[in-house]
């Protein structure tokens, strides 16, 4: 488990991370989203012990991470602009990382290279940006560390590769409880990968929740009531996060389970009603609007 407790970090008097406390459980995929400048990379760099926090602590499995080799051996960090040795090829990088991570799975690494069509002997500086990201992801996966911390690593990967990586993640999570932690500025990039998402804004965490839990507990209902009494009855029994009316069509975003909502609307006199699933994006919009933020501006610009 990775625990960030009351983390603060400023650069030249500018607060980059403001009292962040997040807990990342093992065996799930954690997504950290936020706009550019929200503090994602700083949080990642604090989490990996690259930066020393001004205050607060980062604990990996109960051990502090800053300047602690034992903690650092538990994760593999992929930065947003990964460094490869000049003139090195994939083989050279494998040698380097396998010397640092004793459980590095060389066999799997070379298998993956073939599967992803990457040439082990080709100089990395001739790789495209996407190829470099694939390579570092494969190195990170094969390092066989407990945590894989990726800073904007998935942004820009094509869907086929994303799917490939996603399936590797799934198998590694199943096999050895790998915990990928992925930062991105784009919620859509994380939607199909993450189990848990933390939303970062202006250095602080707006919310941190399980995606399934959010998906199950927030629903969108479209309906046309027979009369106002029925509408009032419905609104009285619902926890409405958002309400939109166009003519006689009411669209509610509500908190609650699918069964509860179905039961309620079946008992009401309606001309039409439909319970719709929400996309992660919509859930976020709703959740953050409740908290008083315009998420569209925050994440989607």
């Amino acid at each position: 488990m990775i625990e960030l407790n009351g983390l603060n970090k400023s650069f030249d008097g500018i607060k980059a991370v403001d009292n962040i406390s997040v807990t990342i459980k093992e065996g799930s995929v954690f997504g950290l989203i936020g706009t550019n400048g929200a503090g994602k990379s700083t949080v990642m760099r604090l989490m990996t012990g690259i930066l020393r926090p001004d205050s607060g602590s980062v604990l990996i499995d109960g051990e502090k991470v800053y300047n602690n080799v034992s903690s650092k051996s538990k994760f593999f960090f992929i930065s947003d602009d990964q460094y490869f040795f000049a003139t090195a090829n994939a083989k050279d990088m494998e040698r380097y990382y396998s010397s640092l991570y004793p459980n590095f799975d060389k066999g799997a690494f070379y298998d993956y290279l073939i599967r992803f069509g990457l040439d082990a002997g080709r100089k990395i500086n001739t790789f495209s940006k996407g190829m470099k990201r694939q390579l570092i992801l494969l190195l990170g996966i094969c390092a066989n560390t407990k945590y894989l911390i990726c800073d904007e690593t998935f942004d820009g990967l094509d869907p086929v590769i994303r799917q490939g990586i996603k399936s590797i993640f799934a198998s590694e999570i199943e096999k050895r409880q790998l915990t990928p932690i992925i930062a991105s500025h784009n919620l859509r990039e994380l939607e199909d990968i993450c189990d848990h998402v933390g939303l970062l804004h202006k250095g602080g965490v707006l919310l941190s929740k399980d995606i399934e839990e959010m998906k199950c507990s927030i629903l969108k209902i479209q309906c046309v009531f027979k009369n106002d009494n029925e509408r009032e009855k419905a609104e009285k029994n619902l926890t409405i996060l958002k309400d939109d009316v166009r003519g006689s069509l009411h669209t509610y975003t509500v908190r609650g389970t699918h069964e509860e909502v179905e039961r309620l609307f079946t008992s009401l006199e309606t001309i039409f009603f439909e319970v719709l699933p929400l996309s992660l994006e919509e859930i976020f919009i709703s959740e953050t609007e409740v908290a008083g933020y315009d998420i569209k501006k925050l994440i989607f610009g």
Binding site: I50, S73, Y83, R95, L100
Partner: protein
């Protein structure tokens, strides 16, 4: 957990990433050592005479492997490259993200960089040194002492490399990008010596009594490996040249370098641990150090500008103040712009400008207005142990002095090493007199305002072991009594000339002694050497200032000897003899000397007769008229009575009794000295013949 061999892997990886540095070092050593030796040898084999070949090859071998200046230059450059390249990842966020996230401890990473930095210098150096020694051996050039010195040079160069590496590493830790690191390295390496040179320039510029002899201890380098190594090179070369043991010099320098290197490496490591990683690409890594460093640079820069503009404006106070202000503002703006990487930020932190203006202004005022009373220094008699008075008269520049190795030394140096006057009241009275009169010398020594100036360099040895040096000036007309007291001091006399010491005495019987007053030159019989020298010593000891004041020397004794140079290389084709030569003036008051010279029929004041003179040419420098050639015998006779030989001026006690307006060139007939002979003369004061004035 890292694997067992992770440190070795880290070393290897670090080495791989520094391949170009390693190659550069190796290729450089290849060219500087074996290639240079081969080139030198092939040139010697072509152009050197057989009998000198072996010796010259040995000399060439020595020059390549012992204190090779190219290796020294390379050592500085390599150390800087190694430190910057080794820690260059700190400049890049990309690299720090990678290196700091992997499970390698700070200590291990530091050790890997450090060990590789040392190996990349030591390994090629030692390999090519051994190859060079083997190559020399194949040519029959073998010398155990030179080989030993080659390894000593290797050891000391390695320590020097380590110390420069450590200083550069400190610069890397304090800064965040390459250009600022290079500037920082230069500053750290040169700051100590630069500040000392600046201070000495200020001493010499502002204080009339400043003597450069004060510099010697002050200039000793304590903190800069560069300055330390330069002085070591000098000491080592001197020790080698004089065939004295170099080991004490080496041991002293090695110890100093080791201490410096250890201290600097500890500082480097502490800074490495404390360095915030977000400093990469910024100018400075530590916020707290920014102002301190800036202000430490601003002060000397401001003072340099102050000196420059003061001098350029003809020593005006306005020029100095302008320079000070310009230096402060310019330096502040440049540093601030570098710090902020933004020209618009040049005037940030104006408080520093004010602080430095106050500090630099105060330092300038201390020097300019002698607030500390430097020029009026009078030693505390209770703390004074002894002293040296290196008076610029009576024998001026003509005296020569030799050290134990028969190397020429200056009169001041000789006297400071040998003269220990214990008459404290005399020493304090000199200081007091000079302090009283110092304000008279505002326009400088020797100006028309001070025609009767006498000067001396004083050394006051204090009870705390320190020596204070001062140049003093005072009016000899007003201070006859003081000068006679100086002349009465036996220690002053015995160490004023190299006449009483063992070096002079050792060769006493070898001297060929001549008496000359330029008009006549007579060689004395060698059998008279002891008697003449004893007589001269007695006359010299008895001489008072009054005896020589306003009196030109009648002539001088020349003592010349050729002695064997025990240190010369017999086979090198170099001269193995040393010429030593002294001139001692003979004044009219030197009765004992005159008596001995009389035994050889020498009258010290003898001149050529008018019949021996072919012509006299007089040059008038005041009116710049055409030279006058005089051939009339009577006029020549009158001139002969009115002139002094120019060479006697060098022995003048004081300079008020001869006329500098005319040059008188006396041409002697060829039959007198078997050839043409001219004597350069001047008129004595008040003795210019009327016919000269009229013409």
């Amino acid at each position: 957990m890292t694997s067992k061999n992770s440190f070795l892997v880290d070393l290897k990886q670090n080495a791989v990433r520094r391949t170009w540095s390693i190659l550069l070092f190796a290729i450089s050593f290849f060219f500087v050592l074996p290639v240079t030796l081969m080139v030198n040898f092939s040139s010697l084999l072509k152009y050197t005479e057989e009998q000198f070949l072996a010796k010259q090859m040995l000399v060439s071998f020595k020059s390549v492997v012992v204190l090779n200046p190219f290796i020294m230059a390379a050592t500085v450059i390599f150390a800087i490259i190694a430190a910057i390249h080794g820690f260059s990842y700190l400049y890049s966020r990309k690299k720090t993200d990678m290196y700091l996230s992997v499970p390698v401890s700070i200590e291990k990473r530091f050790a890997a960089i450090f060990i590789n930095s040392m190996l990349m210098y030591v390994v090629p150096y030692i390999i090519f040194l051994i190859i060079t020694i083997i190559i020399a051996g194949t040519y029959g050039v073998k010398d155990a002492y030179i080989i030993k010195m080659a390894f000593v040079s290797f050891g000391i160069n390695t320590l020097f490399y380590l110390a420069v590496y450590a200083v550069t590493s400190i610069a890397v830790m304090l800064t965040g990008n390459l250009p600022v690191t290079v500037l920082g390295t230069g500053t750290l390496l040169c700051y100590e010596n630069g500040v000392k040179i600046l201070l000495l320039s200020m001493f010499s510029n502002y204080f009339k009594t400043y003597s450069p002899f004060s510099d010697e201890k002050f200039l000793k380098t304590w903190f800069s490996p560069l300055g330390l190594f330069l002085s070591f090179q000098n000491d080592f070369a001197l020790a080698l040249k004089d065939n004295i043991s170099v080991m004490p010099v080496v041991e002293k320098a090695a110890l100093h370098l080791v201490v410096l290197a250890i201290v600097y490496m500890v500082i480097t490591f502490l800074l490495y641990k404390a360095r915030p990683i977000e400093a990469c690409s910024k100018s400075m890594a530590f916020k707290k150090s920014k102002k301190v460093i800036k202000r430490l640079i601003m002060i000397p820069v401001a003072l340099v500008f102050c000196l420059f503009f003061e001098s350029a404006s003809g020593n005006s106070l306005g020029g100095a103040i302008f320079g000070l202000a310009a230096g402060i503002i310019l330096c502040h703006c440049v540093i601030q712009a570098i710090y902020e990487q933004d020209l618009k930020a040049a005037f940030k932190d104006k408080r520093s400008i004010i602080y430095i203006a106050v500090i630099a202004g105060f330092i300038f005022a201390v020097f300019k207005f002698d607030i500390a009373g430097y020029d009026k220094y009078i030693p505390n008699e209770n703390k004074l142990v002894s002293g040296t008075i290196s008076l610029d008269t009576p024998f001026g520049n003509r005296a020569s002095f030799y050290d134990d190795e028969y190397d020429n030394v200056t009169g001041d140096r000789y006297r400071f090493n040998n003269m220990n006057i214990i008459d404290k009241s005399l020493l304090c009275d000199i200081a007091y007199t000079a302090a009283q009169e110092i304000d008279n010398y505002s326009t400088g020594y020797g100006s028309e305002d001070n025609p009767y100036t006498i000067s001396a360099t004083m050394k006051y040895t204090l009870s705390n072991g320190k020596s204070v040096y001062r140049n003093v000036y005072f009016d000899y007309k007003e201070n006859q009594e003081l000068l006679n007291r100086i002349f009465a001091d036996v220690n002053f006399k015995e160490n004023y000339l190299q006449l009483f010491d063992s070096i002079f005495a050792k060769n006493e019987s070898l001297y060929e002694i001549r008496y000359s007053n330029d008009f006549i030159t007579e060689t004395l019989s060698n059998g008279l050497n002891n008697e003449l020298i004893s007589a001269y010593k007695k006359d010299f000891i008895d001489m008072t200032f009054s005896d020589v004041e306003n009196t030109l020397a009648s002539g001088y004794l020349e003592m010349y000897a050729v002695i064997k140079n025990d240190n010369a290389d017999e086979n090198s084709g170099m001269d193995d003899s040393i010429n030593i030569y002294y001139e001692f003036p003979v004044f009219d008051s030197f009765e004992n000397t005159k008596a001995v010279l009389q035994k050889q029929g020498i009258d010290i004041n003898e001149r050529v007769s008018k019949e021996d003179v072919f012509s006299v040419t007089v040059y008038d420098y005041v009116n710049n008229t055409e030279p006058i050639e005089i051939t009339d015998a009577d006029q020549i006779e009158e001139i002969l009575d009115a002139v002094y030989a120019r060479s006697q001026v060098y022995f003048s006690a004081v300079n008020s009794h001869y006329n500098n307006d005319y040059d008188v060139d006396i041409s002697i007939k060829p039959e007198k000295y078997n050839g043409y002979y001219n004597i350069g003369c001047g008129f004595k004061n008040g003795h210019v013949p009327d016919f000269i004035k009229q013409n």
